[in-house]
Symmetry: C2
């Protein structure tokens, strides 16, 4: 399969997999599965109806079936699939998994199913999984694996290589050896390439990279991701409060986390606060979106009710009913731009606190300029249509003000929320929309009442 | 620094760094810099005014200064900084960099500065950088480094370790050895941990992982990122059309790419199509945002002009001027939700093409339900305020229709664009907004004209 670019590999059909599982041709099934990456098998399995999935997972070689389960997503109902397997097979598949993947999967089960499955595992492995389950799902503890290679600080490079050879078969995909003291406190990390390059007599302590980068089990996963990205770490050690090494988090877990967090941020900005799963069904989608839309109905009604207060003005100048939504829309769009830029600056870890006025000041300045240009354009157009120059003045002032307010609010609100330690995404967007609607309507109508 | 959680390490002030550079206390400067990660030094340097930056970069040990430049961002004007250094120092810093980082940095220079700098480098290194610069900045070729360790397919594990020891000092941070045939064609990859675990007499060919995962130099960086995330790859080989190994891309480059792409996606959804840099000044922000806002002014005006066509109706029922923006706003919000979910499904690599009607059907169904509930709420409210039950009917039908159209358009437009191979983000959002405004206004007014 050399030279295959992503997305272009020829995938055999899920139907083929299913047919082989159904006819019981385990040999050809194993051969076919061996040519595929577990991620691809997971996609194929997810596309098959429930009892077909079950049959494939029963028939696949244990190791492949286990990796396939690990690569499936929570919203592809892999927990239900695990429960539906006969219980010896379920336990067998979980045993094959790395402890972090096992804990993620077991954590998705209902409590009763979870207890049944853990009871079917050897007690030591069940205990390990239980230990990991104590940590919050979105924390460093929830991401880490406890499988790692560590060596005492007084070892030589040669001894460390020996330890890698002894322990390495039980540990998947590791790129670093951890150096610890006699109490288990982490002293440093040695990348495998440096270990191979070193003279076997070199003390590992002299090879170890200084310990700038460790996280605690309760560190938020988003922070772990930012941290690994910032310091280009292939693996980050997790230590407790006294510095004792508990586990490691590898880059591949963090790549998944980054995708999740991006989805969350984008959906939040679009008014989906409840972390709707991308593949969720319509019931779930109604449940997550409706509360937000109801809130929006209330705020939009509130903003539009300005019209009712200025009923006479609108009656006298119906042209205003044409102007208002345009002024409100441009305010809304400017606000969204300022909001997205500011929220993203916060999300990539820029520290805006030392100079909040720089951020807000920039958006106000941008609003002053864009607002003047857009206001002039629309004022000329309004004057051209209506013939009354005072209508042009109303439009210019209303749009200009609204766009400046939008820039100010779009930058100010997330900055303030961030300072208060509140996640800025959701609340900001509804507030900015309501504000720009309100200011847009109120400015057009009050200026019209005063000037026309 | 054991046990330091991200964001909480005590950073000495940039002022201290600057003071040491200015007093010429190079020894203490080097000691201080040695305690910091280059990413942190880069942030400190970026926070200092221009000639202070220059002085720090002149005074830092060469290796540290070079890594600091690599960790600075394009929008922190690192290219100008490099040009401002005396030219021998500039060349020295570039020589220290890995070839991919060097090419990124040199690529940011003006053509004349670039030629001057490349002329100051040894011709072989200049050639390497020139080769990498031929590839597009956002492609696999633009991300890859050519520094790697490869071994012939007939080597043993022991010979491969020997090759790692010979070549490894010139190659930074590698986790994999590449196996190639006599023509340079990639045959497989061997992770370092497996190499250490193997019997020295084992042929590397027996250790090599099958070659599912390679990319071409012109593969888009976003696809490379998705690919590495999907297959949990710490490094992906880049091969030409005949399978010859050209370079490798490591996970840390991809983490940066993912952050960039997330920023792009979020800004695009907010109507910032021109990839505004997050830290850009107000001039840049006006330039990137204004064209989009002008387009928005045009489309919002177009949508609102429906009001002018129904002037008499509005004159008769000013209450409609209150209803219209609410109906339009709810349509807009529903459309944004459907759009964000669908765009994100495409972005995470879900293939929606086999069942576009499933995606669109779900959003229409969600719209039918949410629209009915929201329409009923607002219809009752309108009836309560206005007293005319026919007003309630107008509101119910207008809002329901608009929300269903919004769900349909929000899912349909990105799906169709994706099918056509067009990036869905920007065009979709302006279209959905305009459509929901238009349908909102037109439904309220035409129903009112017919029923009231």
């Amino acid at each position: 399969m050399s030279g295959v670019a992503p997305g272009r590999s020829a995938q055999p059909e899920a139907a083929e997999l299913l047919a082989l599982a159904e006819t019981g041709d385990f040999e050809r099934l194993a051969a076919l599965a061996g040519d595929l990456h577990p991620s691809d098998i997971a996609d194929l399995v997810a596309s098959v109806p429930d009892d077909g999935r079950l049959r494939i997972l029963q028939a696949l070689p244990t190791e492949v079936a286990s990796e396939t389960l690990a690569e499936m997503e929570e919203d592809e109902d892999r927990a239900q699939l695990l429960v539906a397997l006969d219980s010896a097979r379920g336990a067998e598949l979980v045993r094959e998994l790395a402890d972090d993947d096992a804990a993620d999967l077991v954590g998705e089960l209902e409590p009763a199913d979870r207890d049944r499955l853990l009871a079917a595992l050897p007690s030591e492995e069940a205990e390990e999984i239980r230990d990991l389950l104590r940590f919050g799902e979105e924390t460093a503890g929830g991401l880490m694996t406890t499988a790692l290679v560590s060596v005492p600080a007084e070892s030589t490079a040669g001894e460390a290589i020996g330890e890698v050879r002894r322990r390495g078969r039980e540990v998947d995909d590791f790129y670093t050896v951890f150096v610890v003291d006699e109490t288990g406190r982490l002293k440093g990390t040695v990348p495998l390439d440096d270990l191979i390059l070193a003279d076997p007599a070199d003390p590992v302590a002299s090879l170890a990279e200084p310990l700038g980068a460790t996280v605690h089990p309760d560190t938020d996963q988003e922070e772990v991701g930012r941290f690994m990205g910032r310091y280009n770490l292939v693996a980050v050690p997790v230590v407790d409060a006294s510095g004792v090494l508990l586990g490691r988090i590898t880059f591949d877990d963090v790549v998944d986390v980054m995708e999740e967090e991006t989805t969350e941020d984008i959906l939040k900005l679009a008014g989906l606060p409840d972390d709707e799963e991308l593949k969720s069904g319509w019931r779930e989608a109604v449940r997550t979106r409706l509360p937000w839309l109801v809130l929006n109905l209330a705020t939009a009604t509130l903003a539009a009710s300005v019209v009712l207060r200025y009923k006479d003005v609108v009656e006298g100048f119906v042209f205003l009913a044409f102007l208002m939504p345009v002024v409100a829309a441009l305010g809304g769009n400017t606000g969204t731009q300022a909001l997205a830029v500011t929220i993203r600056r916060i999300a990539v870890g820029e520290d805006l606190r030392p100079r909040p006025w720089g951020v807000v000041g920039k958006e106000v300045l941008v609003g002053l300029l864009n607002g003047l240009i857009l206001g002039l354009c629309f004022a000329l157009f309004a004057y051209f249509l209506d013939g009354d120059p005072r209508m042009g003045v109303v439009v210019l002032l209303a749009m200009w003000t609204n766009i400046v307010v939008a820039g100010f609010a779009g930058a100010m609100i997330p900055t303030v929320l961030h300072r208060l330690g509140v996640d800025p995404a959701v609340a900001s967007s509804v507030f900015v929309q309501t504000l720009t609607d309100l200011v847009g309507f109120a400015m057009v109508l009050s200026l019209a009442a005063a000037l026309l």
